[in-house]
Structures are given as C-alpha cells and as structure tokens.
C-alpha cells in the first residue's frame, strides 16, 4: 500500500524513468523485459536522430507556412536574425539574466522553506493539522492570481515577483516532501530502531534518504511552476526580463522579438529541468524502477 516508487506527480513525464523522451534509460539494469512494446529497443543514437529529424521537419514546416505569407508570421530566418541582434546588443542576456535571477531566488527560498515544513508535516501530526489547511487552500489558487494582491501590498519592485515565484515553488515542493515522509515504510523505521537508532537518528538516516526521491520530484515540479510564473509576472509589471520584453514587443507589433523570447524561455526551462533531472538520477540511483 505504501508507495514504494515516488511520486504521484500529476505529470507522469516528471516521474523518473516514466515515459517522455527520457534520457534516463536505466544504465545499470539491463532491459530484461521490453516495456512499452518495442519502442525501448531503439538505441540512444537512433532516438536522438529521430528527435533531431523531427525538430528539423518542424522548422521547415514553419518556414513553409511563413513563406506562403500568413499575415505577420515571421519566418525562421527573420527570427534568427532578430535573435542575433538581441544577443549582440546584450538585451537577450540582460532579459534572461533578470528572469533567471527572479526564478532562482524565489525557487531557492521556496524549496529551502518547503523541505523543513514538509518534514515537519510528515513527522508531527500536530504540525500537519496546523499547516495542511493553508497548503491545501493556497494550492488551489494559481500563483498568478496572487499577483494583484502582491503588487498592491508589496509595491512594484522585485519583492512581489519573487514572492509569487516563492509561493509557486514552495507549494509544489512542500506537498511532495510531505508525501515522501508519510510514505516512508514503517518496516524501515522499525529496522533502524531494532538496530539501536533513536528517533533523531531514524529521522536523519532513514526518513531523509527514503523521502529524497519525492523531494527531488517536488523540486522539479516547483522549478517548472516558478519558471512559468516568472514570465507571466513580468508580463504584468517589470522593468526587464523575458516576459517584459514580450510585453514591449506586443505594443510595437514586433513578432520576431516575441518569438525569440518564447524560444529563450523554452530553452532555458528545458536546460534547468534537465539539470535537475540529472541530479535526481544521480541521487536516486538506488531506487527500484518499475
């Protein structure tokens, strides 16, 4: 009954080794049974070439559509040119830097608080009773909906934006840390106790490692939520950032700049996700994968 494999993240592609174009093919366990039909039998190289071919086809399709002359749609060449310009004059770097700084600050604060709070909720029933209603309630409010309130109460500086990102990261991470702690198998705790572990030792040596896969998945979801939130927050009020750039471009009907920003958002998000995925794969190598 206790969930052995993490996590119950809604998005199964976030679950380690579960679907998606996961690069985390099991390294040390030979593929004994073919899992999803014959798909798994493709080598990494073949898979990568299929991926690349698909992306290339997409770009060609885009180019074709824009060449036919759909109203205002910029073609790949135009977008690449604009990307070059924005890179050359430093705008792209500045905007990306500003957005990243907000995300990383909010994300770091959010997870830093979420992990101890999640542990507290999982370990002490009273703490759970006190904290859970708030977490469950705020979880149902999209972080973006907090922005008006944050701007009114905290002004238009960096604080409201970082706060909203903090909230997004905190809420996703706290739930999964909590689930991780609750899901720690009782037999493991008992096994440590009969070997002489007192409750603090049980916590450090059993509960923390046993729930780490959940925490890491929570962090990945949190980072995704933070990244989605920052861009939207910048659309509303910011002096710089990728969201701000798009907002400006929208005023001047500057579609190439919007495209460049969107692509930058996608690439940066992907890089951050893959980084966390790599860390996760390394730290949870011990896990039994289904």
């Amino acid at each position: 009954m206790a969930p052995k494999n993490p996590p119950t993240a809604a998005d199964t592609s976030l679950v380690p080794g579960g679907g998606g174009v996961s690069t985390e093919a099991p390294e040390n366990s030979p593929p004994r049974k073919p899992r999803n039909g014959g798909n798994r039998k493709f080598s990494r190289k073949v898979m990568l070439s299929i991926n690349l071919a698909s992306v290339a086809a997409g770009i060609i399709g885009w180019w074709l559509v824009s060449a036919i002359g759909i109203q205002g749609l910029p073609g790949p060449v135009e977008v690449i040119e604009r990307g070059g310009e924005l890179m050359a004059n430093g705008t792209l770097a500045e905007d990306s830097g500003a957005s990243l700084a907000r995300v990383l600050t909010g994300f770091a604060l959010g997870t830093l608080l979420a992990i101890p709070v999640g542990f507290l909720m999982g370990w002490y029933t009273v703490a759970r009773g006190i904290i859970e209603p708030y977490v469950q309630f705020f979880r149902t409010i999209p972080p973006l909906a907090i922005i008006p309130l944050a701007i009114v109460t905290m002004g238009i500086g960096e604080v409201p934006k970082v706060f909203v990102i903090f909230l997004a990261a905190f809420l996703s991470c706290v739930i999964s840390t909590f689930q991780g702690v609750v899901g720690v198998e009782n037999t493991l705790i008992n096994a440590a106790r009969v070997l002489g572990a007192k409750s603090f030792t049980v916590f450090i040596r059993v509960v923390v490692p046993a729930s780490s896969p959940f925490i890491l998945v929570g962090m990945r979801i949190g980072l995704g939520a933070a990244w989605a939130t920052v861009v939207a927050a910048e659309l509303i009020a910011a002096p710089n950032g990728l969201g701000f750039r798009m907002q400006q471009a929208q005023l001047y009907y500057d579609l190439p700049t919007i495209f460049v920003s969107l692509i930058a958002i996608g690439i940066l998000g992907l890089i951050m996700d893959r980084l966390l995925l790599m860390i996760e794969a390394r730290l949870t190598r011990w896990q039994e994968r289904r």
């Binding site: 040390n28 366990s29 008992n190 096994a191 440590a192 002489g196 046993a210 896990q287």
Partner: protein, 265 residues
C-alpha cells in the same frame, strides 16, 4: 501447558494485543503465555493471521501491548534494544545503502571504528555468501539474497536474542535447506536464544527444540510440541521415522485445529 523454565530469557506474560481495524476492535493476541529459555531455539507455526508477527514484534519492543507484558532477562520490554536482533518478514533493507553498508548500519550506530566495522561486516557477509555482492545495492539482489543480507545485518550487532519472522520464506528449497543448516551451525557455536516464525512445518521441526503451534481468531497458543531430536541435526535425521512422526504431530496441530478456518482473507 507452558513449560516453566528457571532461566527464562524471554517470557510472554498474559499478553493481549488488540488493534482497531476500521473502528472495530480486533484481538490479535488473546492471552499469550510462553517462556523461552536462555539459548533455546523455539519455532512458532500457525495459520496466516494468527498473530505470529505480532508476538514477535511485541518481543522486539515495537508494540505497545494492550495488557500483559513481555519480559526479557527479567526486564520488561518497553522499546527496541540492540540486545535483540530482528529479521523482518519483509526484508527491510535500506535501499539507498550498499549490502555492506546495510550490514554495518547497526555497528555504525554503536560508533565502532571503520576498520573493525568492516571486518565484522566481511565476516558475516562471508557467512551468508554475499561477499561478492558487498558493493551491490539491494535492488540488484534476488529475494533470497536480500533475506541473507538482512540476516547478516542482524547477526553483525551480535544480539543475544534473535527474533526471526519467516526469514527463509522467500528462498528456494535448496537455499532454504542450506540456510537452515547454516543457522543451526551458527547457533550451536554462539548459542543465542532464537524465536523463529515459519509457515513451514518441516522447517519448524528441523530447527527447534520446541514448536509452538498457534491458532487464529483470536490469536493464541494452541499446542506445544517438544522436539527431542539431538543437535546437531543432520540430513539423515530429516528422513528418519522419528522426524516423520514429529512432523505429523505438528501438521496435525496446525492444520486440524478445532475451529481453524485457515487463511480466509
């Protein structure tokens, strides 16, 4: 019915254990009285759900008895103690630690220096035949190997009492016999007090000097059968008439209980 032993190591005194199952009370153990002598090897058999694991957990100090108590070496059990080693029905290995680190876990808690720890771990890994897998993770082991690792981990802290909950249940017949012989060999050398839960009638007779047959609903001791075969037990003993006779008695006690319904859940 209960054999009164002078130097009882483990004594169950009128132990009652109730659980609340979806609101209603459920009696898992209904007044268990049992004494296990210092250095004795006792096996406990009975239908599924009769409270064998519950009894063992109570002796391990992992339960809070509803009434009655368990006394170990004249001291009431009120929590786990490293004097008592437990091998759980589920292997309960720490999946993030290698086999060796699992075995060293208890020693590390005792703050034993690394060199000494390693020597002890190596000794017990050798005993259970896992030397080659010392650096493997539990997920890389078969069920039987996991169980052997759990046994090494329990042995390593050198407990005076071993509580074993169906430790060989996951092993194939061949490994099982081998592990039984090895367990007895170690026991003859180091004479720990052993309480060994099993489903297997053969196993219960081969290992023990006394078999405790339990009945379910409510969980209680139904019969005790003395196994007066001498130690060391040998393969030829397994095939002897005497063994067959004892085996039949235990079988009778387990499978032909007056109101036994067996495992109907």
């Amino acid at each position: 019915m209960t054999t009164e032993t002078k130097n009882a190591m483990i004594r169950f005194e009128n132990l009652h254990q109730e659980f609340t199952l979806s609101g209603s009370k459920f009696t898992a153990l209904d007044g268990v009285n049992l004494s296990i002598a210092d250095g004795e090897f006792v096996t406990v058999v009975g239908p599924s759900g009769c409270g064998k694991s519950t009894m063992l957990n109570a002796a391990a100090g992992l339960l809070d008895p509803t009434s009655g108590r368990v006394v170990v070496d004249e001291l009431e059990v009120d929590g786990p103690s490293p004097r008592t080693g437990v091998i759980f029905q589920q292997y309960a290995l720490f999946p993030w630690l290698t086999v060796r680190k699992n075995v060293e876990f208890g020693l590390k808690l005792k703050k034993m220096p690394a060199g000494e720890r390693r020597a002890i771990a190596d000794h017990y890994l050798d005993l259970v035949g896992l030397t080659r897998f010392a650096e493997a993770l539990p997920k890389e082991l078969s069920g039987g190997m996991k169980q052997r690792c759990a046994i090494a981990r329990a042995y390593a802290v050198n407990p005076e009492i071993l509580l074993m909950d169906e430790p060989f249940g996951a092993l194939d017949a061949l490994t099982r016999v081998h592990m039984q012989e090895q367990l007895l060999e170690t026991w003859t050398k180091e004479r720990r007090t052993v309480m060994f839960v099993t489903h297997d009638v053969d196993e219960s007779v081969f290992l023990a000097s006394r078999v405790i047959a339990m009945a379910a609903r409510p969980g209680r001791i139904y019969q005790e059968i003395m196994i007066d075969l001498p130690y060391p037990r040998t393969e030829s003993m397994r095939l002897s008439d005497e063994f067959a006779r004892l085996r039949a008695r235990v079988w009778e006690a387990v499978y032909h209980q007056p109101d036994a319904k067996g495992a109907d859940e």
